[in-house]
């Protein structure tokens, strides 16, 4: 297959950046998108040019490191796929393909297609955990958990922290990402004890990091490679209202 790539190049945060065009010839349809970029980089190295920097690691759709916007859609817009799992058989011969980084205010550019997503870490560090030490816990079957509750928690916990939801949102909102962790921990009995303070802390961190609010575009859900759905945001809003009210009323959170 043949393609024309328009790839974003940016030599560091201070460089304004711009597109560079590269023709790709005789590409095996079985290659993944990143393997095609590998080939392009091999060519650039051979020509003495600078290869394209991009983040990637596991290449099986689970680590969340890869972060490319393909033709305007984070991860290429194919439901359920990260860009590392996007194979060339999903494109048409002769396609022109635009490759950009995940763009969002809180994701400062590093180089070419790589961005800094540490603002997402700050949200998790604010409260995305249960406070317990190894060795303290009772037997794992002491507290029964409804199967439906466990399944819903798993649906939310499937988030890989890639940031596609944020890159897709016109407000650069991190609400799907934040709410996914809250939905997992707040709904399980083991995490419910700390529900109120956790919700206030993570939402507070989300705002402090400069992520926008949700205005119900639903772009996040559309690009989420793990199928995390908008209802987690509704749940977060409910948990937030409860926690904020309890705080105002002076109840211990």
């Amino acid at each position: 297959m043949n393609f024309t790539l328009h790839v974003w190049r940016q030599n560091g945060p201070a460089d304004p950046g711009g597109f560079e065009t590269h023709p790709m010839r005789d590409i095996d349809a079985g290659l993944s998108f990143l393997e095609m970029l590998d080939l392009l980089n091999e060519r650039l190295v051979a020509e003495g040019a600078s290869p394209i920097a991009f983040d990637h690691d596991c290449r099986e759709g689970i680590c969340g490191m890869c972060s490319l916007t393909i033709n305007g859609a984070p991860h290429g817009g194919e439901a359920g796929l990260t860009v590392c799992q996007l194979h060339m058989h999903r494109f048409r011969d002769g396609d022109e393909i635009t490759v950009e980084p995940f763009r969002a205010g809180p994701f400062p550019p590093l180089r070419d297609l790589a961005v800094d997503r540490s603002a997402m870490e700050a949200i998790q560090q604010a409260g995305g955990f249960v406070s317990i030490r190894p060795g303290e816990a009772p037997d794992a079957n002491t507290i029964p958990v409804r199967r439906a509750t466990a399944e819903a928690a798993m649906d939310a916990a499937a988030c890989i922290g890639c940031g596609a939801c944020i890159a897709a949102c016109p407000n650069a909102s991190a609400m799907l990402f934040t709410a996914a962790k809250l939905a997992q921990l707040n709904s399980l009995p083991q995490g419910a004890v700390e529900r109120d303070w956790r919700t206030l802390a993570m939402v507070g961190a989300m705002d402090a990091q400069g992520f926008g609010g949700c205005t119900n575009h639903g772009e996040c859900e559309a690009v989420c490679p793990k199928g995390v759905t908008l209802d987690v945001i509704a749940r977060m809003n409910r948990d937030y209202a409860r926690a904020a009210t309890r705080k105002i009323l002076g109840a211990g959170i």
Partner: protein
Amino acid sequence: MLDATPHALDARIPDGPLEDKWQAHRASVKLVAPNNRRKYTIIVVGSGLAGAAAAATLGGLGYRVLCLCYQDSPRRAHSIAAQGGINAAKNYQNDGDSVRRLFHDTIKGGDFRSREANVHRLAEVSNQIIDHCVAIGVPFAREYGGMLDNRSFGGAQVSRTFYARGQTGQQLLLGAYSQLNREIAAGTVTMITRAEMLDLVVVKDADGVGHAKGIVTRDLVTGEMRSHAGDAVVLATGGYSNVFYLSTNAIGCNATAIWRAHKRGAGFANPCYTQIHPTCIPRHGADQSKLTLMSESLRNDGRIWAPKRTEDCGKDPADIPEADRDYYLERKYPSFGNLAPRDIASRAAKQVCDEGRGVGPAVEGQRRGVYLDFTDSIRRLGGEAMSDRYGNLFTMYRSITDEDAYTRPMRIYPAAHYTMGGLWVDYNLMSDVPGLFVIGEANFSDHGANRLGASALMQGLADGYFVLPATICDYLARTGAGAPQTDDPAFAAVRHDVESRIDRLLSGGGKRSARQMHKALGEVMWDKCGMSRNAGGLGEALQRIPELRAEFWSDLRVPGSGAEMNAELERAGRVADFLELSELMCRDALAREESCGGHFREEHQTEDGEARRDDARFAHVAVWRHRGEDAAPERLTEPLHFEAIALATRSYK
């Protein structure tokens, strides 16, 4: 030059009955009092299951912890990709499981090449791991009554595997990551991302004994070199399957940290013990960058077969009648069937394909694949049940192959996946360089010559949450707080070594990329030191690898500079280390003149092609010591004693 003084290999296994060793040891190690812990700094390299769990737990205990990872977040370590599950001896299924049985299965699964005391401890703490993980919010699969569900895995006749769909590694890692985040927020753990450890700093004490007291790292964004000092260094940097180029590891997985530590004095144990996982998606072409695993749990509900006749191999599998299919695992191993252990299942698939009965598209002239068929299970349980259990795996398979495993059997083939070998450690998980601890896949400890499915997650978390935090205090208490600072001359010397190495990588005006060199090495290793090995092939590899190394240093091209984000430079450094480690793997495989677990020497097999161990000569751990660039490494041994379980031929028939 060796910085550490060689000393005898003492595994420091506690005395007393096997069942009591761990508790007795815990009660006898020296402790560090809570108010003194903050005086100690512990460096943890790597943030996978072992590293994140250790860093979080040590931080929670009150030590000052510095944790590093090369990814942009600790959550991305490759433990995240483990799919199937984690073993524990809970016996929730009431099907006869116990600590004793998990211990027994793991020793047997490892083909009697692991330490009894370590494995028994692993089985003991397995239950606490599940308790802790449930308590921190890991959403394990549950039954309708609200209790935890289990599945079966290879090498066991009980259901003891806890799972979270096909994403168990992800959920366990995110659990450990959440605990790490708690400590980062509390200020006990300092997390440094996008940093790679490039060398270990060993500082001599008053008696001239070298202790691990720091590391030198490179910032992968700015290229800046940094020295970090600590009272102890913990390596949790994973395995070295990427020596094969194509493996199921993440692209960035590398052996640099353990290899540099080896060259600074740490013994490398059983480097030839590698695990080839039987259920991966077959290769599709020459430009492929990695292989993708399909969880072994699929073997619970899938039946593995190949056509009986070569002429059927190109046919649509639906057109091959039942009578013309060879369900070879069920035929050869009737009591374990499709759940035969990984090494056995992998070799059986290779054998079938060597006989010309492989299926799928030919790559480089050969069909290398067998079928994993869910038809019977779909008929019995329905497609929905399959989707509940393995939905994400079927989706992943489809996205890669464009085939639907609900209607057409999956094609699978073995791929390099896990390395049982690693740095040698004693019962306290300390290497033979005092102060250097090694946990998780990076050490050699618990899996012998073959790891059972769902045991990697168990071992990583056992080491990180429970074992290391209970043993590292002994070393710390004995040496006292107050590590040398980074202005110690030892740091400057190591930094100089690291910088000259990077300059050397950048100076080559050659023509070939590090990736091309890596691929060439991988082909040699897969061919000569892969699923089956023989003296002739290993000898050829030992000739070829030094040649490849010479080509690497004379013909390498790395663009750009060291003072910037430079993925080519990162790769070149890792490949340089693989080019050295690979030679040690071949030496070890050649020296071990027996077949055991994942190490299959063609000269040592039974008449029906099964592995033949030689307990009289090889019931030991082989520990290699580096003796300088121009000297052959020294092979030491740690004898293995079997007291609780009698050495027996491992049979799954």
